[in-house]
Structure formats: C-alpha cells, structure tokens
C-alpha cells in the first residue's frame, strides 16, 4: 500500500500525514509536489491541511488549478481513494470532487481543540475499520470549517450515506450544517473532513483514534512487496 501526500506551497501538515500513513502496517508514503503531474504509482491520495497558496482569495480556490490536482481529479474519477483533511477538504470542495463548501466558523474565531467525532457510516473506504456509532477523539484546528450544502443536497447526501462523520456530544465547533464533520462524494471514493486524524496517531498526544481512518484506506488496497 502506497500513500501519496500532496504538498502545496503553504501546506503544513504534510509530514504528520506521512507519519500517520506510515504507521499503517505494510504501508509507505511519498510526498507529491504540487507542480508535478506524476502521482508516482500511489494507491491512495491524502491532501493534508495547511494554507495552500496562502488561501488567498478563498480557501482552497487556487490550489485546485495546480498540476498535481489535475492528476488527482483524474485519479478520483477512476475510483481512486482520495482523503482531504481540513484545507484538503476545502480544496476538494472547490475542485468539485466533493459537494458543498466550507464557510467561516460561525464564531469567526480560530478553533483548536480535541473533539468527539461520531462515525455515522462505517461502510466507507475511509471508516471501514471503525464501528458505526464509535466516537473518535480527534483535534480540529481551523477558522473556515463550517460545512454548508443546500438543504436539498444534504437530504440526498444523507440518503446516499455520504455523511460519514458528525461532531458528537453537541460539540459542533464551527456551526456546520447538521453537525457534519466529514463527507464523501456519491461514489464514496473521495472523502473530506475538518478534524485532523493525522494529529491523533500516538497516545503521547492524547489519542490514536485517527489511525483508524488511514488503516481503513489500507484495507483492500493492493499489497506491495
């Protein structure tokens, strides 16, 4: 199993994402530079958090036009698994690979804290190592994390099992519609979430619950010598 972790100018969680991927048994991870079109033979893409291209104009708006994103879009269209975390989630929404958009937090403040995240759908390629109803302890750290999609869209997403993670215990940190923390596309192979599973991979920092998402992605992926 080989993960590719995308690196834009302004990405800051790429090294943590590589570390998280490499903690999955039998997995390796490589960095994918934003200016390269090559995906280097990877089996799954992770778009980590940070501030791609400074997030000038609007979060994620400019990163979607980068050369590597053209390859990621093609990879996703072929059914390849793509996980976007925080800024990566924003990029995937801007690229049209995920429905909806991320808006400024309702409180307008940067929020940085550990939250409980409930697994609503444990059948997705990103949560199949979890159990439905399981609460993962994972940190959030963002200013623009309020998930929005029109009501009629949300209903369709609900019906298709696209709402995969919700903030638990009334702990919605940003005013997201329906407490949504993570969603997939309709095909289920692209997921975005605002919490940072890559920061929850070691008991030393309070939780290793984030590992289950990376482990889920590795289940069913081709084994590598």
């Amino acid at each position: 199993m080989r993960f590719g972790v995308v690196q834009f100018p302004g990405t800051c969680d790429d090294r943590d994402a590589v570390l998280a991927c490499e903690r999955v048994e039998g997995a390796e991870a490589v960095l994918l530079w934003h200016g390269d079109r090559s995906l280097d033979g990877i089996d799954a893409v992770v778009i980590p958090g940070g501030f791609s291209y400074g997030d000038y104009l609007r979060v994620g708006a400019i990163a979607r036009f980068s050369p590597v994103m053209q390859s990621v879009i093609a990879f996703a269209s072929d059914g390849g698994p793509v996980l976007g975390i925080c800024n990566g989630f924003q990029v995937l929404c801007e690229a049209g690979l995920l429905p909806g958009a991320l808006l400024p937090n309702v409180g307008l403040r940067f929020v940085c804290r550990q939250v409980g995240v409930e697994v609503v759908n444990a059948h997705s390629p990103f949560t199949r190592a979890c159990e439905r109803g399981q609460i993962l302890s994972i940190p959030v750290k963002h200013t623009t994390g309020r998930y929005y999609a029109p009501d009629v869209k949300l209903e369709g997403m609900q019906a298709h099992g696209q709402i995969v993670l919700r903030y638990a215990h009334d702990g919605n940190p940003n005013g997201s519609s329906n407490d949504i923390a993570g969603v997939t596309n309709e095909a289920g192979n692209v997921m975005g979430l605002m919490p940072h599973p890559e920061h929850a991979v070691d008991p030393l920092t309070g939780s290793e619950d984030g590992l289950t998402l990376f482990a889920s992605m590795a289940l069913g992926a081709p084994a590598r010598a």
Partner: protein, 80 residues
Amino acid sequence: MKARVLIRPKAGILDPQGAAVERALPALGFTGITQVHVGRLVELEVEDASQLEEICRTLLANPLIEDYEIQERANPAARS
C-alpha cells in the same frame, strides 16, 4: 477596460462577519441598521470583457455560496 466584481454571501447563508459588524454599530451610537453583509471587491483590467463571466464562475466567486456582480467601466479619457 476596467471592471469591478462585487462578491457577496448568498442570501440565506449565515454571514457571521456581517452579523459582527451589525452588532458593533449600536455600540457606536448608530441605530436602525439591519441586513449588514460583508463581501469582497475585485478590481481588474481586461482586454476582453466577455471573459469576465467565466472568470467569476471559475475563480473569483464560488457560486454555491456567493453571488457576484460584474460592473464594467469604460476607461476614462486618458489622463496624464
């Protein structure tokens, strides 16, 4: 040609920035002010104004959450 693009949050989408401004005004003695919304202004100079619509749709605004309005302004007579 000079153009201005006004970008504002779509009606019905919560605009906490506008709400914060609205809440601040009474503290300064301004009353009777409602419906405050904060958006962005992009000024640009374009050779071919027919591109503006697509520029707005693909980059300057996210049509899911924002409305945009293009104001084209012919270049004023040359000033030195």
